[in-house]
Symmetry: C2
Subunit: 208 residues, 2 copies
């Protein structure tokens, strides 16, 4: 019995290097969920092997800018001359089908989503300590000290924004973090504010 | 790593016959929790085998009424000439020790607690249908039709108050309901509003 039939939009965010992609992948490997990815839209050209609607929705710059004008993105950004964004209509369709749509995005993008989808669930993935985050950035190995320092400073600013989120989940272990997110999704569905309309229907049926 | 060191006050309530006692017992049988019972205070005399501080705290009517005057109950009520109440100080001590204190009480009592402990978690246990609730009341077997009808009408009024709670958990199966409550407790500990002070400490430590 589900009182809340609609899926949740679950926004997973956090500073660069905190491991939010790894946590998201661990979530999808769990059993018995109805999580789906949100597929981004971009104006960059497909790379060999990439399929439209799988890795990305590939569109022209004109189409993307039209969508911006018509308020059809949950969030978007420009990166190295290309647009990237989350199409609102596709997310809503998946939610209406009862799927939980997981959006793993940067802190700036999450703040954009907050303005458009107030009933989404915002989860901030935090490092156990700032030292730990610095080590993770250093251990990527491929970047210069200058780039690491820049990323770390950006992360410090992002971490101050955690108070804007509904939940803070510490990524001490990936399994722990994924467990907590599953519990959050389950609990959110039981929230009175989400269950009231289903609850009323249930009771009316029972009274017949 | 726990950002939120204090325990939660978890108020489990719902109409008579919904099975909230059974759900609570199932919760305590789970492994790996730190749930504790709240022990009520009463002015009724101990029965043979009852121990002060185990079944109840047994006190005199004078002491109970003094406590009422001094606002030392989370909730209290009179029943067949005796007082029954939840002592505030003992609940707070257990919460400060990091325990989740579970309070399984009637709807009226829960509304009293709401006024005193706004950061408690209020869970309403709902029947799958009203028909189902009526069957449960009938199947107790020991009561007259009149008493069953009175209880059912009271339940109908109580069920209208579900919107005052934070969560609605349908008792379709006891295991399902207990699972959801465990998820709610876990999720509540990750709420930003509860984690902010721990989070700040964590980050300060990391910056050293």
């Amino acid at each position: 019995m589900k009182l809340d039939e609609k899926g949740l939009l679950v926004v997973i965010s956090g500073p660069s290097g905190v491991g939010k992609g790894t946590v998201r992948n661990a979530l999808f490997q769990r059993e018995g969920h109805n999580l789906v990815y949100s597929i981004s839209m971009t104006t960059r050209k497909p790379r060999p092997g990439e399929v439209n609607g799988r890795e990305y929705y590939f569109v022209s710059q004109e189409e993307f800018e039209n969508r911006i004008k018509n308020n059809q993105f949950l969030e978007y950004a420009q990166f190295v001359g290309n647009y990237y964004g989350t199409p609102l209509d596709m997310v809503e369709q998946k939610l209406n089908e009862g799927n939980e749509v997981v959006l793993e995005i940067e802190v700036q993008g999450a703040m954009q989503v907050r303005k458009k989808m107030d009933n989404a669930v915002f989860i901030f993935i935090a490092p156990p300590t700032m030292k730990d985050l610095l080590h993770r950035l250093q251990n990527r190995g491929s970047e210069s000290n200058e780039v690491i320092q820049m990323r770390y400073e950006k992360a410090c600013r992002e971490i101050e924004l955690a108070y804007m989120y509904d939940y803070i989940v510490v990524n001490d272990t990936v399994d722990n973090a994924a467990d907590k997110i599953m519990a959050i999704i389950r609990a959110e569905h039981a929230k009175t504010i989400r269950t009231m309309s289903g609850y009323k229907k249930l009771l009316e049926e029972g009274k017949k």
